[in-house]
C-alpha cells in the first residue's frame, strides 16, 4: 500500500461557494520526492493541509472522499496524532517559530508529545545538525535570517521524526541563495534519511532536478502527473502557467532549430551543459 493515498477528495472551505479541491486522487510511495506546482489559488495549500488533517479538523468545512497516510485514516484522527507522521512546514517562517530560543522551538513538538528529557536532547541535537543550525541553537528567532528561520521550521518538524515532510512554498520569503540551501537540506533528508518529501514550489528552475514525481494542479484538480521530463516538455503545462525551467526551454528551442542534443529533456542548466558538451563538445 502506498504511503499516502487520496481517493476522490473534494473539499469546500466554510463560507465558500466553490470547492477548493475537486475530485483529487493521488498516490505517493515511500521515499519519493514529490513536487507540486500550479498557479496561485489552484488548491496546492489546501491539499497540503489535508495530509495532516488541518483540513478538515482545523478549518471545518465540507469534505468528501478518503485520505490515508501511513495507513491511518486522517479524517478520523486529530491533527496532533498526525504530527508524528506528517511534518508541515509553512510559507512564512516568522509565524512558525514561537519560542524564545531556536533549541526550544525545535523541542516544542517533542515536549507536546511528552518525550523524556534525554530522548529530547538527543533528537534535538541530531536535528539541529542535520539542518545545519547547531551553532545558532541558543539565539532567538528575531536574531537570525529568514533562511535560517525556515531551516529552524524544518528542524522543528523533523525532530518528531515524521515519515513525510510537506513543505508549502517554503522559500517564497527567501532570496535565491537561501532558497537553494533549503532545497539542498530537504534533498539530503530525502536521500540520506529516506524521508518522503512533498514540496510545493513555483521555482522549478531550482527544484525540478530533485524530483521524479511532478504534479501540476490547476483550478482545484490535478491536471498532469508523472515524470517531470515528460510533463515539462508538454505544451499544456506551459499553458496552465507553470514556470518551465530555463534549461528545458532552451533545449526545446535548440531542438526546434535542428540541434540534436539527445532525447533526455534537461531539467537544470548543469544537465543541459553536459548534453551540449557531449553533442558539440570540441573545446
Amino acid at each position: 500500500m502506498a504511503l499516502i493515498e487520496i481517493k476522490n477528495l473534494s473539499y469546500t472551505y466554510p463560507g465558500a461557494s466553490n470547492p477548493s479541491i475537486h475530485d483529487v486522487s493521488l498516490k505517493i510511495e515511500k521515499g519519493e520526492f514529490v513536487l507540486i506546482t500550479g498557479p496561485s489559488g489552484c488548491g496546492k495549500t489546501t491539499l497540503c493541509r489535508c495530509f495532516n488533517g488541518l483540513v478538515p479538523h482545523f478549518y471545518q468545512g465540507e469534505i468528501k472522499g478518503e485520505v490515508t497516510v501511513s495507513g491511518i485514516n486522517v479524517l478520523e484522527k486529530h491533527t496532533y496524532d498526525m504530527a508524528k507522521h506528517v511534518g508541515l512546514v509553512f510559507q512564512n517562517p516568522e509565524n512558525q517559530l514561537f519560542a524564545l530560543s531556536i533549541e526550544k522551538d525545535v523541542a516544542f513538538g517533542l515536549e507536546n508529545l511528552g518525550a523524556s528529557r534525554e530522548e529530547m536532547r538527543k533528537k534535538v541535537d541530531w536535528t539541529l545538525k542535520q539542518t545545519g543550525i547547531y551553532d545558532i541553537r541558543e539565539r532567538s528567532p528575531h536574531e537570525i535570517s529568514g533562511g535560517q528561520q525556515q531551516r529552524v521550521a524544518i528542524a522543528s518538524v523533523l525532530a518528531m521524526e515524521p515519515d513525510i515532510i510537506v513543505l508549502d512554498e517554503p522559500t517564497s520569503f527567501l532570496d535565491p541563495l537561501s532558497a537553494e540551501k533549503i532545497f539542498e537540506v530537504i534533498y539530503r533528508l530525502n536521500k540520506e534519511q529516506g524521508i518522503t518529501v512533498i514540496l510545493v514550489e513555483h521555482r522549478l528552475d531550482l527544484t525540478a532536478k530533485y524530483t521524479d514525481h511532478l504534479i501540476v494542479m490547476d483550478k482545484g484538480a490535478i491536471r498532469l502527473e508523472g515524470d517531470p521530463r515528460d510533463i515539462l516538455s508538454n505544451e499544456e503545462t506551459r499553458l496552465i502557467g507553470v514556470g518551465i525551467p530555463k534549461a528545458t526551454l532552451l533545449y526545446q528551442m535548440l531542438k526546434k532549430e535542428g540541434f540534436n542534443l539527445g532525447d533526455k529533456t534537461p531539467l537544470s542548466s548543469d544537465e543541459l551543459a553536459d548534453q551540449l558538451l557531449e553533442a558539440y563538445g570540441q573545446r
Binding site: N52, Q96, F98, L100, K104, F108, L113, R139, H142
Partner: protein
C-alpha cells in the same frame, strides 16, 4: 527603528543573569518586606546600597540608571506630598524629623523600584517563561507570555512598515490637536490588528502541526536546577530577613538628625 530597539530582548550571561529566576523573585519579595518594615533612613539606605553590587556584577548600570531616572519624578512627588502634609498636620512648622521621615518614605519607594528593576533587568524573558512553566502555572499562560515576548519585535517592525506605507499615501501622523493625532493612528492600527489576527491563525496552524495538545503531561527540554549561586542568594535572603526582624524588634534605630544633636 531606534524607538523599538528597547523591545528586543537579548541573551546576556552574568552570574546574576544565570541565577534561578524563582530565587531572584523571592529575593525581591524579601527586599520588599524589609523595606516595608522600616521607616527610617539608615536601614533603608542600607537596603539601597546592598543591591548595588547586583547591578554592577550584572553590568546593567546604564539600564538601571535609566529606570532610576524614570522613577525620580514619582519619588520627588512622594517627597513633596509627604513634606506638605506633615507641614500642615504639624501646625505649620517644619521639624528636622519631618524632613527625615519624608526622605525615608521616598527612599522606601526608590528601594522598591530598585529591587524590581534589578529583577527585570537581569532576568531574560525565556528564563522567566521557564520559571512560569515549572512553577505549576498552566502551560497555556506561560506559552502566552513567551509568545507575546517573541512577537513584540515582529509587530513593532510591522507597525513601522504600515506607518511608512500610510505616510507614503499622504497620512500625516503629527498634525492637529491631541484628539486629531490619536485619530490619525487609526489607519495604522486597523491593518496592524488585521495582520496580527492573520498571524495568530498561522501560528495556531503551526502549533497544531506540531502536536499541540497531544498529551496531558507536557515535558520540557530544560530543567531549572539550583546552582551554587542560587544557594548563596537563598542564604542571603535568610540573613536579610533575620537581621531585619532582629533590628525591627530589638534595636531602636537612631535617626540621622540625632547624630547632629538636633
Amino acid at each position: 527603528m531606534s524607538v523599538f530597539d528597547g523591545l528586543k530582548f537579548r541573551k546576556v550571561s552574568s552570574p546574576i543573569h544565570n541565577l534561578d529566576p524563582r530565587i531572584k523573585f523571592v529575593y525581591v519579595i524579601c527586599i520588599f518586606v524589609a523595606a516595608i518594615m522600616f521607616k527610617s533612613i539608615i536601614p533603608l539606605a542600607a537596603l539601597f546600597v546592598m543591591q548595588l553590587p547586583f547591578v554592577f556584577v550584572a553590568k546593567v548600570q546604564k539600564q538601571w540608571l535609566r529606570s532610576m531616572r524614570g522613577a525620580a519624578f514619582l519619588a520627588a512627588f512622594i517627597f513633596i506630598i509627604n513634606i506638605v502634609t506633615r507641614f500642615f498636620s504639624a501646625g505649620y512648622v517644619f521639624t528636622a524629623f519631618d524632613i527625615e521621615e519624608a526622605t525615608a518614605m521616598t527612599l522606601r519607594f526608590i528601594v522598591l523600584v530598585e529591587s524590581f528593576s534589578v529583577f527585570f533587568l537581569t532576568t531574560s524573558p525565556d528564563h522567566l517563561g521557564l520559571a512560569l512553566e515549572q512553577s505549576k502555572v498552566p502551560f497555556e499562560f506561560a506559552f502566552a507570555f513567551t509568545t507575546a515576548v517573541r512577537f513584540v519585535p515582529v509587530l513593532a517592525e510591522e507597525a513601522q512598515t504600515i506607518m511608512d506605507a500610510q505616510k507614503a499615501r499622504g497620512l500625516e501622523l503629527e498634525k492637529g490637536n491631541l484628539m486629531k493625532r490619536i485619530r490619525n493612528y487609526i489607519p495604522v492600527l486597523i491593518p496592524l490588528i488585521v495582520s496580527a489576527i492573520r498571524r495568530s491563525l498561522e501560528l495556531a496552524e503551526a502549533m497544531e502541526s506540531r502536536a499541540w495538545g497531544a498529551c496531558k503531561k507536557r515535558t520540557n527540554l530544560y530543567a531549572l536546577k539550583l546552582h551554587r549561586g542560587d544557594y548563596i542568594l537563598l542564604a542571603l535572603i535568610i540573613v536579610i530577613l533575620v537581621a531585619a526582624s532582629y533590628f525591627f524588634v530589638f534595636v531602636s534605630i537612631p535617626t540621622v538628625a540625632s547624630f547632629f544633636g538636633l
